[in-house]
């Protein structure tokens, strides 16, 4: 049994964030299915919003787990989340419209077994270990599925593996120009894994406040979404990718200014260092 080393008081209770994050992420993932129903790609940006919702939830889960001092550093929690999540997510894409639900259930099972191994076999004895790793695996799977839906317009295996190349005006199917075949999944794996572990790693300490950390999580999520939106230009129509990019930039700007405000609020003192000092004449 390890000792809690960080205060956890203040802010919203974790269960509220968990339920809100899970429902928001799954509902937003399903909103991308409107692409299939209407026959466009313009709803792809909902996948990116699903990743932001899941990442906000994930940063609070990491806070809950890492406040016990797991000794391996905060990034390791993000890595195990996505390592177990990617497996559940790719398996779930086989199930068509049920994919988000299957991903959540399968990730919960994988997370529970890995949590049991970490807590009992490896003898970590952290009270929230199993629950945290279940949540982390679900978050990993949902975030990766959100990026997949955002970059391809769908979360089904066939559209993740098949892309289109146009040669001389002819559109030909190609496996190389796809989310999986082009290994874009490796890039979004790291985009998500870094975005999930950074907020708590940056905000931990005696002056930790929950709203500031969650705002930073949303900011990291939108920042990753900008990169994913740029990458999605290769896979979906340019106008749909630009909508994603527009939403991501707006979201990033809003959360960034909010985060800076909250950082001002929590800081003891604030010294604005100018980016490059200007050369003064005559010195």
């Amino acid at each position: 049994m390890t000792v809690k080393v960080e205060k956890i008081e203040g802010g919203m209770p974790h269960s509220t964030i968990m339920i809100a994050g899970l429902i928001a992420a799954v509902v937003l993932l399903y909103l991308t299915y409107a692409n299939v129903l209407v026959g466009t790609e313009y709803f792809a940006f909902f996948g990116g919003l699903a990743t932001v919702a899941a990442l906000v939830w994930g940063s609070d889960t990491i806070k809950m787990l890492c406040s016990y001092g797991i000794g391996t550093g905060v990034p390791s929690a993000g890595m195990i989340a996505f390592g177990s999540g990617v497996i559940a997510m790719l398996f779930a894409t086989k199930y068509g419209i049920a994919a988000p639900i299957v991903a959540v259930v399968l990730a919960a099972v994988i997370g529970a077994i890995i949590g049991y191994l970490a807590n009992n076999v490896v003898n970590m004895r952290i009270p929230v270990m199993i629950q945290s790793l279940v949540e982390m695996a679900i978050i990993g799977a949902v975030v990766l599925m959100g990026y997949a839906a955002m970059m391809t317009g769908s979360f089904e295996l066939t559209s993740l593996t098949t892309g289109n190349v146009s040669i001389l005006g002819l559109s030909l199917p190609s496996y190389q120009a796809s989310f999986l075949g082009g290994a874009l999944i490796a890039a979004v794996f790291m985009l998500g894994a870094i975005a999930i572990q950074h907020p708590f790693n940056a905000c931990l300490g005696p002056s930790w406040t929950q709203d500031r950390m969650l705002m930073l999580a949303a900011e990291c999520g939108f920042l990753s979404m900008i990169v994913a939106a740029v990458m999605s230009m290769a896979l979906i129509s340019m106008s749909a990718a630009l909508i994603s990019l527009f939403v991501a930039v707006i979201g990033w700007y809003y959360t960034y200014t909010k985060y800076i405000e909250l950082a001002h609020r929590d800081a003891a003192a604030w010294l604005d260092t100018k980016p490059i000092p200007e050369l003064v004449e005559g010195q």
Partner: protein, 280 residues
């Protein structure tokens, strides 16, 4: 804060009932896979994935992980966490193995190439870490856990600063790092290779395409699963050593049986799901 002030109290004790439950889960997963896919390439791939996971979990115990205390010169080892170190060595090994897999079909050659990739990465990392410790931070290399270096026989205590657990990177830790890189690279490459064989075999029929067309997807799927399983195994092993270890001479090294059970079970679970993508 989390790394320094909070040394977790997870002891060296082995929880026997939990170990047995872990082994039972492992056997159930192996049996379930056998019943679903039958004796064949896919089942052998699962065994290969489990062996690869065990190699990764065992290899992490050799790597001198120092964490934040090492960065401040208060503990020996490389000044970063296991997830970063293992990912560096394992991915370097994976690149080496994947490169070799393009040119030959010999399993042994590919796995050894992957091992050399991981070992080389760790050797280079350890060398530059030592340069920075000695010439940048001005600290000698001294182990805090043993009085004499088990390999060179050099005494350690007179070089150790008071109030620290040792500092720098003693020779035995360097050797341990390279051995850990070899194991990690070999394990990661083995997982990649096993999954690649299954996907190359099954994907053309499943997606109704030519083997050459399917190759990018098979490589990408096997690669991302190998990375995912590598990270899961490395973090489980990191939890086992509670973050920091000096190398093979550290008393924490004796905890490795727990990590082997945990890594074998976790790899079996992830491997089964990864194989089910094409086999069901």
């Amino acid at each position: 804060m989390t790394a320094v002030a909070a040394k977790p109290a997870a002891g060296a004790a082995v929880d026997m009932p939990a170990m047995i439950i872990g082994i039972i889960i492992l056997l159930v997963i192996i049996a379930a896979t056998y019943f679903i896919v039958g004796p064949g390439l896919a089942f052998m791939a699962l065994i290969g994935v489990i062996v690869g996971g065990i190699l990764i979990g065992f290899g992490v115990h050799f790597v001198p992980v120092g964490g934040a205390p090492a960065a401040m010169g208060q503990a020996p080892g490389i000044a970063t966490g296991v997830a970063m170190l293992a990912a560096g060595a394992g991915l370097a090994g994976l690149f080496g193995g994947a490169w070799a897999a393009q040119t030959t079909d010999n399993l042994l050659v590919i796995v050894i190439t992957g091992a050399i990739g991981g070992g080389l990465m760790m050797a280079i990392t350890c060398m530059f870490v030592t340069f920075i410790y000695v010439y940048g931070m001005g600290i000698p290399n001294a182990s805090g856990k043993v009085a004499k270096d088990p390999i060179t026989g050099d005494t350690q205590t007179e070089f150790k600063s008071q109030g620290t657990e040792g500092h720098g990177l003693p020779f035995v830790s360097y050797v341990g790092g390279v051995i850990g890189g070899l194991f990690g690279g070999a394990g990661g490459t083995l997982i990649y290779l096993m999954l690649l064989d299954v996907y190359k075999d099954e994907l053309p029929a499943m997606m109704n395409a030519l083997p050459a067309q399917i190759l990018p997807i098979a490589i990408s799927l096997a690669g991302i699963f190998a990375i995912g399983m590598f990270l899961v195994n490395a973090v489980l092993a990191a939890y086992n050593i509670t973050g920091t270890i000096e190398g093979p001479h550290d008393p924490k090294f004796k905890r490795f049986p727990r990590a082997i059970v945990a890594c074998a079970t976790a790899s079996a679970l992830c491997g089964m799901v990864a194989i089910m993508i094409v086999a069901v």
